[in-house]
């Protein structure tokens, strides 16, 4: 859970930084998207690095979902008779929404790949012009896309708030002071990532990026 999660978090950071290049203008962003296909050349043939990265990410996603499913099945088996009266949350809300939050994020990622990677669900869907695709995607008339996107990012933020802390704990974070630091770091990290991912659609929505 922790190891695959950390791999995905590394991707999220890199992807967020890449997305923010949208503020540097159309040419720079499209150039960046094309460069993604050339990383590793001339050592590797073009797009090989991308495919290696995609393979690693897919393995991490499958590992992450596999471990989560195992934990959920164990949890279900560990309490065959449910409580008639159950206090909802004593600990952290984020921790209690990990499973459904994860499902929402997965649905979003599938939609998102069909939208911006393959272009099938994108109004423009031009593989040569990712900048145009993003702008067309979050156009004000398509507010529902932005809404769904925002919900998915908030779910991601909650997921990371608990996930980042929990990963550190699973890897042996063990002092009370360290726990306070780890929780604070996870919170700040989740907020920064949410903000970084949300500025792009809202910049398109408000016409800052056009």
């Amino acid at each position: 859970m922790a190891v695959t999660g950390i791999l995905l978090v590394l991707f999220l950071v890199a992807h967020m930084l890449g997305n923010l290049k949208i503020f540097t203008g159309e040419t720079a962003f499209d150039h960046y998207a094309h460069w993604l296909r050339d990383i590793g050349t001339p050592l590797l043939p073009s797009t090989w690095f991308l495919w290696i990265q995609r393979t690693v990410l897919l393995a991490a996603v499958l590992g992450h979902i596999g471990a989560a499913t195992l934990l959920a099945l164990r949890a279900r088996a560990a309490r065959p008779v449910r409580y008639a009266h159950r206090k909802k949350v004593n600990g952290s809300y984020a921790a209690r929404t990990m499973r459904w939050g994860g499902v929402i994020i997965l649905l979003f990622v599938i939609y998102h790949i069909l939208d911006l990677t393959t272009g099938h669900l994108n109004p423009q869907g031009d593989p040569g012009n990712p900048y145009g695709n993003v702008v067309a995607d979050f156009a004000p008339a398509r507010w529902y896309v932005t809404l769904f996107y925002t919900l998915a990012i908030v779910a991601l933020g909650l997921h990371l708030r608990h996930g980042a802390f929990s990963a550190l704990r699973s890897l042996g974070q063990q002092t009370p002071a360290g726990e306070r630091r780890a929780r604070a770091a996870a919170l700040v990290f989740a907020i920064v990532l949410c903000a970084g991912y949300l500025v792009v659609p809202f910049a398109v929505l408000t016409g800052l990026v056009a």
Partner: protein
């Protein structure tokens, strides 16, 4: 105070069980929660009915026998207290109180609110001990222990094995209990020889007993009557990672 109680009644392990509603009146706010159940039971006995079975022993928060899910809260609404230390002044006249046993596959219901916590004994038997002969209390200065370690070990040793952590855990995991025992022993010099076999043995016994896996949700520490902190689980994880990395921890190798 007049109260409506909805209590889980189950005549034995094979019975399906159900919530049954009782009225109790004349409850004093100074009574403990268990005394209130005693009052109910006396009336049930006088009426020729079967009294409600519940576990208890010391009634002062040190033995870990009592354990009730009270309105969905393990040990009731007051933090840092066992059910036996809970007073009726925490409730108001006219309240409805739901009382259920701990729910976990590893803690099967024996009768009504009494569950079988043998699974905890199995975890202890798998490593919750030291092999050094300790005899009577040794001279305190003969083995130096850093004050911070002594304090952390001591507060982990406060775990009374009540099982509230399991009852509250969304995963039905017993990791807080296991981690409290691991922390207590692996912080002290006397606990070092078995340090790495202990953690593997206890975690294996925990999983075999049918407890769920920990996701660091933190519900356990919120209800723990002894305030065992969640970071003990980090200590367990670290010992576990080390133990699996160095196979020297395997007996005979």
């Amino acid at each position: 105070m007049n109260l409506t109680l909805r209590i889980w009644r189950q005549s034995g392990p094979e019975d399906k069980g159900r919530m049954v509603t009782y009225q109790v009146d004349g409850v004093s706010p100074d009574m403990s929660f268990l005394e209130m159940l005693d009052v109910l039971n006396e009336r049930l006995i006088l009426a020729g009915e079967e009294p409600v079975a519940f576990d208890h022993d010391c009634r002062e928060g040190i033995c870990g026998m009592c354990g009730l899910m009270i309105n969905g809260d393990a040990h009731g609404p007051q933090r840092g207290t066992t059910a036996c230390q809970l007073h009726m002044r925490q409730f108001s006249d006219g309240d409805t109180i739901d009382i259920e046993p701990w729910r976990a596959r590893a803690f099967p219901v024996i009768k009504d609110l009494v569950v079988d916590r043998t699974a905890f004994d199995k975890i202890i038997a798998a490593g919750g001990y030291i092999t050094a002969p300790t005899g009577s209390a040794p001279e305190a200065h003969s083995v130096p222990v850093a004050k911070a370690d002594a304090d952390a070990a001591f507060s982990s040793a406060a775990c009374i094995g009540c099982g509230a952590c399991v009852a509250a855990c969304p995963n039905g995991s017993g990791m807080l209990f296991t981690a409290a025992k691991i922390t207590q022993l692996s912080l002290l010099p006397q606990g070092q020889p078995e340090r790495y076999t202990r953690v593997i043995g206890m975690v294996d016994a925990h999983d075999e007993a049918g407890f769920g896996g920990c996701t660091n949700a933190g519900e356990c520490t919120a209800v723990c009557p002894k305030g065992i902190p969640l970071n003990t689980i980090g200590r367990l994880n670290r010992d576990y990672l080390r133990a699996t990395a160095k196979r020297g921890g395997t007996p005979g190798s």
